[in-house]
């Protein structure tokens, strides 16, 4: 048989390869360069295409899909503006280690470099914001590249991968090559299994600790739900306290006695002080982000630090550690548990008891306390009530970026991984709503709520049209303070109360806005009507926008100002004058 007879077009090959990779959904937006792919999609019914209203939203939706399922999220956009619109989403996925394959259209190979219509140097633009990218120049390479891209996106430290597809490549014909399994990449082979000696050493350090703390992050989410179970098991075996990063929430049950809450800039008093005073820190799948460490020279100065991470470049990047264990968090935890059981180490119970007593004193500070009055809804109260009504339901939470995001992290409790989708590393306003769409696609019957700010939601509000089209019953729970609250808070605390451009003028009527898109709009401003509103929101099996008018000037505490040390925490509004922010801190973001 000549290739022409048996062969398929590049676009058909692509669809076949996606199906072989067990892709079910593609989030995308069409255009000239990808029309052959849309034609192939039209002719089949295995792959579902979700038409978003902006390419950035396609990537965030794929992120929500990926993070709530552990699968690779798939995006399809056209050349030029389609690809450039996707850049924010790709950067977001890179920062938060989310596995994405993004297919971008490209002008035909003979026009590349000619400033052709809707040409952009997509591989050039996306090189620094992807884990890897490809330009497919011959149809014969297409299937292999697709399979390789999925492997790269999902293995090791996950991340976004772009495949740039010139239109002629999509139209040329070639035979299909099925993926080789298991994939053996010629150069990319992340270390999954840890060095047993390092695990032994780690156990020795852990067992000998007097003031230990586990510090667990998003890497445990990446390692799959089993890793969270193993983490919980190991933490229980040791009896040690544990704190989670923003990205790690849900990897250890929030209701557990050993959980100290989130750490970092807006973390709890007890978590941050325990980090400061500990003698052994066990970091599993977290990256010593600056939101965690604060002032580096004052970061946990007395501790021996163990760092478990699959990516050697995360180790000793910001903080020098005493023992590095490279490997997948799940595998490492499994080994740790095995060695711990085999050795039955004697932990210093007396020291541990004293340590817990100290922690309990910090806990008594009740750092998340707030005062709810009869007049205006406090945002914290709104979230506490929200949690009360959803906790016994199958639910998923996404957020936008700002104060509401931090309050959501503090006041909603996560008992399982993959239930909390938020933009941590890039902090992308506009992430939450499209992400919630992706989650809802993956979990059609679950309650999916985007905790939003009125400013952030405007950044991808056009997606109301998408949820209407696919009847996605996503809930948008807006904590409307009429300010870019997080900006206002920094201006209040660091810039002498000069509220430059942080007031949200001319906000839309969110109820009418929802109705215009065929969604349901609700509004609430009285504390005693809040429960009703939330119940109503849950009961409506359609997309709902809830405009909760909250206290406009509430600030998010605790707060460690940029560049300050863990013990320099601001705990409430009366705390601020005492601790002026250093000049060094002012230049930090």
């Amino acid at each position: 048989m000549k290739p022409e007879e048996s062969a398929t077009t590049g676009a058909d090959l692509l669809v076949k390869a996606l199906i072989d990779e067990e892709v079910e959904v593609v989030f995308g937006y069409p255009g000239g360069a990808v029309l052959p792919i849309y034609d192939s999609l039209f002719k089949q019914n295995r792959l579902r295409h979700i038409l978003v209203r902006h390419e950035q939203a396609a990537v965030h939706a794929a992120e929500g899909y990926a993070r709530s399922t552990g699968k690779v999220g798939v995006v399809l956009v056209t050349s030029g503006p389609g690809a450039t619109n996707a850049v924010t989403g790709l950067t977001d996925a890179l920062m938060d280690s989310v596995p994405i394959v993004c297919l971008t259209g490209q002008v035909p190979t003979h026009l590349i470099g000619n400033d052709a219509f809707q040409e952009a140097d997509t591989t050039g633009i996306t090189r620094p914001c992807t884990k890897h990218n490809y330009l497919v120049k011959a149809v014969g390479d297409l299937a292999r590249v697709v399979h390789e891209a999925f492997y790269v996106a999902r293995s090791g430290r996950p991340g976004p991968v772009v495949i740039d597809l010139p239109k002629d490549v999509l139209m040329n014909k070639h035979d299909y090559v099925a993926p080789k399994k298991p994939v053996q990449h010629k150069s990319y082979r992340p270390q999954v299994k840890p060095d047993p000696k390092k695990v032994e050493e780690a156990i020795e350090l852990i067992a000998g600790a007097k003031r230990p703390i586990f510090y667990a992050g998003g890497g445990i989410v990446n390692a799959g739900p089993k890793a969270s179970k193993l983490l919980t098991q190991f933490v229980h075996m040791t009896g040690y306290p544990i704190t989670n990063t923003l990205m790690g929430l849900g990897t250890f049950p929030a209701s557990d006695k050993q959980f100290l809450g989130m750490l970092g800039m807006h973390g709890t008093y007890e978590a941050n002080l325990a980090m400061y005073h500990c003698d052994v820190m066990i970091n599993i799948g977290a990256r010593f982000d600056d939101r965690i460490t604060g002032k580096l020279t004052e970061f946990s100065p007395k501790s021996k630090k163990i760092h478990v991470d699959i990516d050697p470049s995360s180790i000793n990047k910001n903080v020098r550690v005493d023992l590095a264990v490279v490997g997948d968090a799940g595998h490492v935890l499994e080994e740790m548990i095995r060695v711990w059981k085999a050795r039955q180490p004697k932990v210093d119970h007396k020291a541990l008891k004293a340590w817990w007593a100290e922690i309990d004193k910090w806990r008594e500070r009740n750092c998340l306390a707030y005062k709810q009055d009869k007049e205006t809804i406090k945002p914290q109260y709104a979230l506490e009530r929200l949690y009360h009504h959803i906790k016994d339901r199958d639910h998923y939470i996404t957020t936008e970026v700002g104060q509401h995001q931090m309050w959501a992290a503090q006041f909603l409790k996560f008992e399982q991984p993959n239930r909390w989708m938020t933009s941590g590393g890039l902090g992308t306003m506009g992430y939450g709503f499209p992400s919630a769409m992706g989650v809802q696609i993956a979990h059609p019957d679950a309650l999916v709520i985007d905790v939003a700010g009125e400013a952030s939601i405007m950044m991808n509000i056009q997606e109301l049209s998408t949820v209407a089209q696919y009847r996605l019953p996503v809930k948008i729970f807006i904590l409307n303070n009429q300010y870019m609250g997080m900006v206002r808070q920094w201006q209040e605390l660091l810039h002498g109360g000069r509220y430059s451009e942080s007031y949200m003028e001319s906000l839309p009527d969110f109820v009418k806005l929802a109705e215009a898109f065929g969604a349901v709009g609700l509004r609430c401003h009285e504390p005693d009507k809040l429960d009703d509103t939330i119940q109503q929101m849950i009961a409506i099996k359609k997309p709902v926008v809830v405009d909760v008018l909250v206290d406009k000037t509430e600030n998010c505490f605790p707060m460690i100002p940029s560049g300050a040390a863990h013990y320099d925490m601001l705990l409430g509004p009366d705390d601020r004058a005492a601790k002026p922010v250093s000049e060094e801190g002012m230049v930090l973001v």
């Binding site: 620094p128 890897h132 330009l135 010629k186 150069s187 990516d311 470049s313 000793n316 020098r320």
Partner: protein, 166 residues
């Protein structure tokens, strides 16, 4: 911590964009490149060898190596400076335009440095000099007083001593 210079060998797939990936990593993360050379070294396996000389504190050098190793088309990263004895070589083409005593002196020094004359006109020479960077630099410095008009340098290539491959 004091910054020190390291010579790093990187074995990569010889594919479009690989150099941009490596250079982009350095510029994007604020590392400096003192010298960089690249060429295909294994046509059958389609591999290139990149030799980078960079400077940084031990923590930065460790990051640079981990970041390079993380790039998908990178096969191997070796820090020749810390992994035992190694040899470094650089080649330079040095054009000198002069006459009389200066011309004679240039030729005499070229001999001392075992530089080859690869082009000669009545009023100019092009020398080819190889050696470690210090030697090349010294030679160029000497030519400055003798009518130096043009210099081209390859940057450093390096290899470990002994029988082991990269």
């Amino acid at each position: 911590m004091i910054a020190s210079s390291h010579t790093i060998s990187v074995l990569v797939d010889n594919e479009p964009g690989i150099l941009a990936r490596v250079v982009g990593l350095f510029s994007g993360r604020g590392y400096n490149i003192e010298s960089l050379t690249v060429a295909e070294t294994d046509a059958k396996e389609n591999l290139s060898r990149i030799t980078i000389v960079t400077a940084g504190t031990p923590m930065v050098i460790e990051q640079i190596k981990a970041q390079l190793d993380r790039l998908v088309p990178v096969h191997k990263v070796r820090d020749l400076t810390v992994e035992g004895p190694h040899i470094e070589r650089e080649l330079a083409l040095v054009k000198v335009k002069s006459s009389g005593d200066k011309r004679v002196e240039a030729l005499r020094l070229a001999d001392v440095f075992r530089a080859k004359v690869i082009d000669a006109k009545m009023d100019s020479f092009v020398f080819e000099v190889t050696g470690n960077s210090d030697k090349v630099q010294t030679f160029i410095g000497l030519m400055e007083g003798l009518g130096l008009v043009d210099v081209g340098r390859t940057g450093i290539v390096a290899m470990s001593r002994g029988g082991d491959a990269l």
